[in-house]
């Protein structure tokens, strides 16, 4: 899907959402979630192309796929958290959005723990 189609869809949903928000705010939030999910799914194919490109690049350079997988997971977590947090903010739940972001940050740190442990172990062995 081209960018102008996505912008068009977003503008239409925004206008409908603004009108709906005055009449039925709960439907406006649902419409916003639906539009967000549709745009994300439409871009999914392109995201896969980027991920494949990165994997090929790492593969050609003999770089460990373990690091790449972890960094890609971090990017995925941050996108999902951003998506959820923005929806919460749009619905007026700022506190909930902050909690989603906190959960994402903790999730990312948990992902990095194995690498931190491995490097610390190596450093301890190197400098006893």
């Amino acid at each position: 899907m081209e960018i102008w189609q996505i912008v068009g869809l977003a503008l239409i949903v925004t206008i409908i959402g603004v009108v709906l928000r005055k009449i039925q705010p709960e439907i406006a939030v649902q419409l916003s979630i639906l539009a967000g999910a549709v745009i994300f799914l439409l871009m999914f194919g392109k995201i896969k192309v980027i991920v494949d490109l990165l994997q090929n690049l790492a593969d050609q350079a003999n770089i460990s796929s373990y690091y790449l997988i972890i960094v890609l997971k971090i990017v995925g977590i941050s996108y999902l958290a951003e998506f959820g947090a923005q929806i919460c903010r749009d619905a007026g739940e700022g506190a909930l959005a902050t909690k989603v972001e906190l959960a994402a940050k903790i999730g990312v740190l948990v992902l990095a723990i194995p690498i931190i442990v491995a490097i610390l172990e190596s450093l301890v062995r190197l400098i006893p």
């Binding site: 980027i50 494949d52 990165l54 994997q55 090929n56 690049l57 790492a58 593969d59 050609q60 350079a61 003999n62 770089i63 460990s64 796929s65 373990y66 690091y67 790449l68 997988i69 972890i70 960094v71 971090i74 990017v75 941050s78 996108y79 951003e82 972001e101 994402a104 940050k105 990312v108 740190l109 948990v110 992902l111 990095a112 723990i113 194995p114 690498i115 931190i116 442990v117 491995a118 490097i119 172990e121 190596s122 450093l123 062995r125 190197l126």
Partner: protein, 190 residues
């Protein structure tokens, strides 16, 4: 000279990847986390040749790169693609097994741990993450610790004694949480 060339080549690619990953991030608040992981990646990449240069070679548990390229393997054999995939899977298996072993040894009362990991048979690409279908951890008690006597149940329901042990349960829970592996796929023997 060859080692220096490889180091510079791989560092350039790692830094290129780091920049690209930062561009992909949705907000600035997550930038630091990607920078942390990529920084560790660079440390790992530099540490190995540096220790070799200092005549004190150090085998990293999570190597930044492998010496044999999976894409080189098809030249060696007719079914090279499968061999390449197996090599990547084996490397990933070793890294995971070491991480799980380190986590298990961090639990009090565990002296030694052996980890066996099995992956699902998939038709994924060379660098795709294999799906874990089973993790088997064999724990040995630390020297000097006395295993507490299990309560004797008379007439009660027969239970699996291996799953009763609190240390085994602790290891299972820790591994499931930190490695993001479903708890039902982990089997711990103590």
């Amino acid at each position: 000279m060859q080692a220096l060339q490889t180091l510079i080549h791989n560092l350039a690619i790692i830094l290129l990847l780091a920049t690209f990953m930062e561009m992909l991030l949705p907000n600035k608040s997550m930038r630091g986390y990607v920078q942390l992981v990529m920084g560790l990646f660079v440390i790992s990449a530099v540490l190995n040749p540096l220790t070799a240069f200092l005549k004190h070679p150090l085998e990293l548990e999570i190597p930044a790169w492998t010496s044999a390229a999976p894409q080189d393997m098809p030249v060696l054999a007719a079914d090279g693609a499968r061999l390449g995939k197996d090599a990547v899977e084996e490397q990933y298996r070793r890294i995971l097994a070491h991480q799980i072993r380190a986590l298990a040894l961090g639990v009090g009362g565990v002296g030694e741990a052996q980890v066996e990991i099995s992956f699902a048979e998939t038709s994924a690409g060379l660098t795709d993450q294999p799906r874990i279908v089973g993790v088997e951890i064999l724990l040995s008690p630390a020297q000097g610790t006395v295993e507490p006597v299990r309560p004797v149940l008379i007439g009660g329901e027969a239970q699996n004694p291996k799953s009763e042990n609190p240390v085994a349960l602790d290891v299972k829970e820790k591994v499931a949480k930190l490695m993001e592996i479903p708890e039902e796929t982990i089997v711990v023997h103590f």
